[in-house]
């Protein structure tokens, strides 16, 4: 079964800059060894915050100084991951008019807007950077990557909070299916580790405050979970029409077989406890891929480690998959929650698990919640040769996006 189909896209390049390390290899090694990228924010500006945990990336030396100074950190992480993915794909020879970019972000250039607000207050309007607007706009990462590779078939930026990265891949799949592009560089980027967003998430009581055990703080499905850990980074995939990938003899790492989108219309931030919208997105993704529940070997769950969200998703999985209980992993237990980059990084992780036949374990799942009636991969990675996997992403605003990837 699986492999290429008339409606699938070939995944020919992977890139990831994550709290687990500088590239896709570091992500794979980190997930399989169960490393945590979470740390205590001990810098003075975070001292007064009720939640002081984050999973940050190391950008030192990744970009030229002059290149970096006109790019917000979210654009920088996107560019680093896109360069890796583009090189990994073998820098495809494609007409610019047939090359598109779709890079989502949940927050955009928050660090620039906050930093320049301070410049405005302290030094006045004539000291505000002329690069402010292109650095703060949410489509900045997409625009930066589009300029980098010379994409002229369209540059897009889905914004759907924590579903942005997954939605970007869904949009990319449509661009390829509809014939608007032959190659799409798609993913998500986020970089908003700053006291203000952290304070805002903390006021929602959405963040873990397990300060005495940072690496144990992100613990999806565990009874002791108390919120998510804010992460930063980017994930980028190079997607091509199957024909284009085959014609140039590209190495195909997996296929994006289907995408399903829905919305809750329940509450702006709280998950629908029934998981109905999430379930509809999963069912839609399966149908879009031409598969059924029993084809799914593993799920890379959204599972952010919040008390309500994790269980709502369990209900969604049951509603959409019936009695089928695929292996479930939750890689945010290692990476933290990369918001608008999460869906893209997790799509990369899903491709890696399909390719290697090894599903990473959920870190910190010591005592599973009684309601987490799932086949969770715990303690050690699980060898599981399988042909199809599901990756789910849900965002504030009630956005539900599910992706089906195949080997």
């Amino acid at each position: 079964m699986t492999s290429a189909s008339p409606r699938s896209a070939a995944v020919t390049g992977l890139g990831a800059l994550t709290p687990l390390g500088p590239d896709v290899d570091a992500l794979e090694e980190g997930l399989l060894s169960g490393r945590s990228g979470v740390r205590l924010l001990d810098e003075p500006e975070f001292a007064d915050l009720p939640a002081r945990l984050a999973a940050t990336v190391d950008l030192d030396g990744r970009l030229e100084r002059v290149e970096a100074r006109t790019l917000d950190r979210v654009q920088q992480v996107a560019l680093v991951a896109a360069r890796e993915a583009w090189a990994h794909a073998g820098t495809p020879d494609v007409a610019p008019e047939r090359l598109a970019v779709v890079i989502g972000s949940g927050i955009g250039g928050a660090l620039t807007i906050l930093g320049q607000d301070q410049v405005l207050r302290e030094k006045g309007p004539r000291r505000v950077s002329p690069h402010l607007v292109p650095m703060l706009m949410p489509n900045g990462p997409a625009a930066t990557v589009g300029l980098e590779i010379g994409a002229r078939a369209g540059v897009h930026c889905p914004v759907s909070a924590c579903a942005s990265g997954a939605e970007a891949l869904a949009v990319a799949l449509e661009l390829l299916r509809s014939g608007r592009a032959d190659v799409v560089v798609a993913g998500g980027a986020e970089a908003c580790v700053h006291p203000l967003p952290l304070a805002g998430f903390a006021q929602m009581r959405a963040l873990s405050t397990r300060h005495d055990d940072p690496q144990g703080a992100s613990r999806p499905y565990d009874k002791q979970r108390d919120g998510f850990v804010l992460g930063e980074g980017a994930g980028v995939l190079v997607l091509e029409t199957e024909e284009h990938a085959a014609a140039r003899g590209a190495t195909v790492h997996a296929h994006l077989a289907g995408a399903g989108l829905a919305s809750d219309a329940h509450h702006v931030t709280a998950p629908d406890p029934s998981g109905a919208g999430a379930a509809r997105s999963i069912a839609a993704a399966l149908k879009d891929a031409g598969l059924t529940a029993t084809d799914i070997g593993h799920v890379n769950a959204h599972a952010t480690s919040t008390p309500l969200g994790d269980i709502a998703e369990v209900r969604a999985l049951h509603a959409a998959l019936g009695d089928h209980r695929p292996a479930v992993t939750a890689t945010k237990s290692c990476t933290g929650h990369l918001l608008g980059a999460a869906g893209a990084v997790e799509a990369v992780a899903t491709v890696l698990a399909l390719r290697s036949g090894v599903v990473p374990a959920i870190r910190n799942l010591d005592d599973p919640d009684d309601e987490a009636d799932i086949d969770a991969v715990r303690t050690v990675p699980r060898e599981l040769a399988h042909d199809a996997a599901l990756s789910t992403s849900f965002g504030f605003g009630g956005h539900d996006v599910s992706l089906v990837l195949t080997r």
Binding site: E64, R65, V66, R69, T70, R126, R127, S129, P130, H131, P134
Partner: protein
């Protein structure tokens, strides 16, 4: 801060070269009087605003937007800065 009135033309060019290196990565040897900002030095309009602001701070002068039009080359900028500094 150094006031432009005390600087020679050569010193002004050297100072401008440092500004251009900082904001645009321009090699110092390209910063010669006849070099155009948008052509020879590849300084786009946004970066030019940064160059202006940095020069205002460095040389303690005011470069109004109306003057920007006339600053096509490094030489134009040096002339303006030395003329503005009284």
């Amino acid at each position: 801060m150094t006031t432009a009135s005390t600087l020679s033309r050569t010193e002004l060019i050297a100072g401008l070269a440092e500004v251009l290196e900082e904001v645009a990565g321009t090699p110092a040897d390209k910063v010669v009087p006849e070099a155009t900002f948008d052509g020879d030095l590849d300084v786009d309009s946004l970066t030019m605003v940064e160059v202006v602001v940095a020069c205002e701070e460095r040389f303690d002068v005011r470069i109004p937007d109306e003057a920007l039009e006339g600053l096509r080359t490094v030489g134009d900028a040096v002339d303006f800065i030395s003329g503005a500094a009284k």
